[in-house]
Symmetry: C2
Subunit: 340 residues, 2 copies
């Protein structure tokens, strides 16, 4: 059963298992360094659909089907699906999943959605409110650009600090037992807003939230950064990564040898001209559900902290001059099932 | 601990308690029949803010403060707050709650948000993942109109089947013990889409989802509509209510003596010219967190099924010719704490 540890962390002694997972990505992401780890690369990022929004839903639906297949399950064996995305009213998820006939728990956590959905699913499984859950999310460069920035046809120039919304989707299947990795702990984050108002610098807006959640988790569990093989943020990219390290050093937490960021892993940012790196719900979802979980299964990584970061503004709040509140949720994955 | 009952329902033997609640509403809602039950009526629906979105956040923040006060708690005693709303990227909630410094679990369930948030909070409390949670949501007529329909200045005419987004917010505090009502069972719904495409007839789009969830719950628990004092939907209003009753009769479920709808309770729809009735996340939240909970505490109602219904489309999906997927989540409130 779930057990509260410290002020903010919930320990899961039975350690729910990630028994299946899948990641699907667009053409540009498929030209990046993680190409060999993902399940499918779409050469045509319309996916044959008549709109970018429909393409995103199609992609998320594919990720769920492939994750179910990798867990040797059918949708009818799922108790719940936890999902959300960046599109207004989360239509990326609702239209992707409406045919599944699975109880649907809709989330909005912006780019923290993959961490939020896995954390919720694992608490449901640990507490026996569910036996089997899916956690899914997606983002699409073209649907996000026109909603948050400019229509593609405008040909807008991007600032060096801006991040590129990944065309990608990921899904993880969480069960009470089966092949791992396993989920040992989760920490849901508090919102942090240090006053950043630049929508082209979301890494800086989100870094303080990531720092707060990482610091909370380490304090709650009495562990150090050195106890983990990897502390993986998604997605702070270049600017936010530097700020995160600086913020944590003030708390005497040094993550420099342990840290990686999904937004910097998904692309070769120099060669691919990706400015500060990748972002979008699908970015961390796809990196986690391919490169990370596969390296955990191979034993190359054993203890991983996955910290999903979300910027909770909207174009309207930015136009009204508001700063960007952010949140970071943490999931601790382990290769050992534990003793419970 | 949570216990699965049948295919879709989770029973909560310890019955988490709604130890505090509050509802705040706008001027028009304050002229309706529930005025004497709500905690506060804003004569000025700008709440002194410079935008409708900020007014909505202000209102949700007020509802949370008042609910905490009614439970004699401070925000620092909350383990989690579950919240969401209708605005793009759920800014109604994020800007309302960012200063609370409480772990934030963002949801998107459209008008089902109050049921979704209470259901999640009660599973967290039952499983001891949390001791104390808040569940909150809001909607504002003016922020919703310009986002989903037309700017107010346009003076658009409404169809008879259209619903009026309530200017209202509600919050419930869920704890492991304390004064009730208590939460006995929850059922998360599956998405249903029977092809309705008319954004001015959302009651019809949502009724099939409500019918499915009510039918699932009764089957799972082996109970009948007659076992409950009230089956409360939020919000199907006139058109959807008729359809819900017709759909359930086909399953031999007769709710006609037990049913009420939050969208029809909040206003005197004829006198106030409210067309088919009220809607919006805040509508069912405010009705539940005032009239319903107060009547439960008085013993006028003992067993209540609260069925929050959400239409999961967006203006973009409607413009692209898509139909409206809907979902309904159910929370079973009881006046007795139970034996566990």
């Amino acid at each position: 059963m779930p057990k509260r540890v410290g002020r903010y962390t919930v320990s899961l002694p039975n350690r729910p298992a990630v028994t299946g997972f899948a990641a699907v990505v667009g053409k540009k992401e498929g030209e990046g360094p993680l190409a060999k780890y993902v399940d499918f690369i779409y050469d045509d990022t319309t996916l044959g659909e008549s709109s970018w929004e429909k393409a995103e839903s199609h992609m998320q639906s594919d990720a769920v089907s492939r994750a179910l297949e990798s867990a040797s399950l059918s949708a009818s064996e799922l108790d719940y699906i936890f999902a959300g995305d960046l599109l207004n009213q989360c239509i990326g998820s609702s239209y992707a999943l409406k045919e599944l006939d699975v109880p649907y728990i809709g989330l909005f956590g912006a780019c923290s959605t993959m961490a939020e959905s896995i954390a919720l699913a694992s608490i449901f499984v640990e507490s026996r409110a569910a036996n089997t859950c899916a956690a899914a999310t997606s983002s699409h460069f073209c649907s996000a650009e026109r909603q948050f920035r400019f229509p593609l046809e405008y040909g807008g120039q991007r600032t060096p600090s801006s991040q590129h919304t990944a065309t990608a989707a990921g899904c993880a299947i969480i069960r009470d037992q089966g092949e791992g990795p396993y989920i040992s702990n989760v920490t849901f984050g508090r919102m942090v807003d240090l006053g950043v108002k630049d929508i082209n610098n979301m890494g800086s807006a989100m870094a303080p939230a990531a720092a707060a959640t990482i610091s909370d988790f380490l304090k709650d569990t009495g562990t150090n950064a050195s106890d983990y093989d990897l502390i993986l943020t998604g997605d702070l990219s270049l600017v936010g990564t530097k700020l995160l390290k600086d913020l944590l050093i003030r708390d005497q937490i040094d993550i420099k040898d342990k840290h990686a960021d999904c937004g910097l892993l998904l692309y070769d940012i120099k060669k691919q001209d990706m400015h500060a790196g990748g972002s979008g719900c699908g970015c961390s979802a796809a990196v986690l559900c391919s490169y990370i979980f596969k390296n955990m299964r191979k034993g190359n990584l054993n203890e991983v902290l996955f910290v999903g970061t979300g910027a909770l503004m909207s174009p309207v709040s930015i136009q009204q001059g508001d700063s960007i509140p952010s949140v970071a949720h943490l999931v601790h994955f382990s290769n050992s099932k534990g003793e419970a």
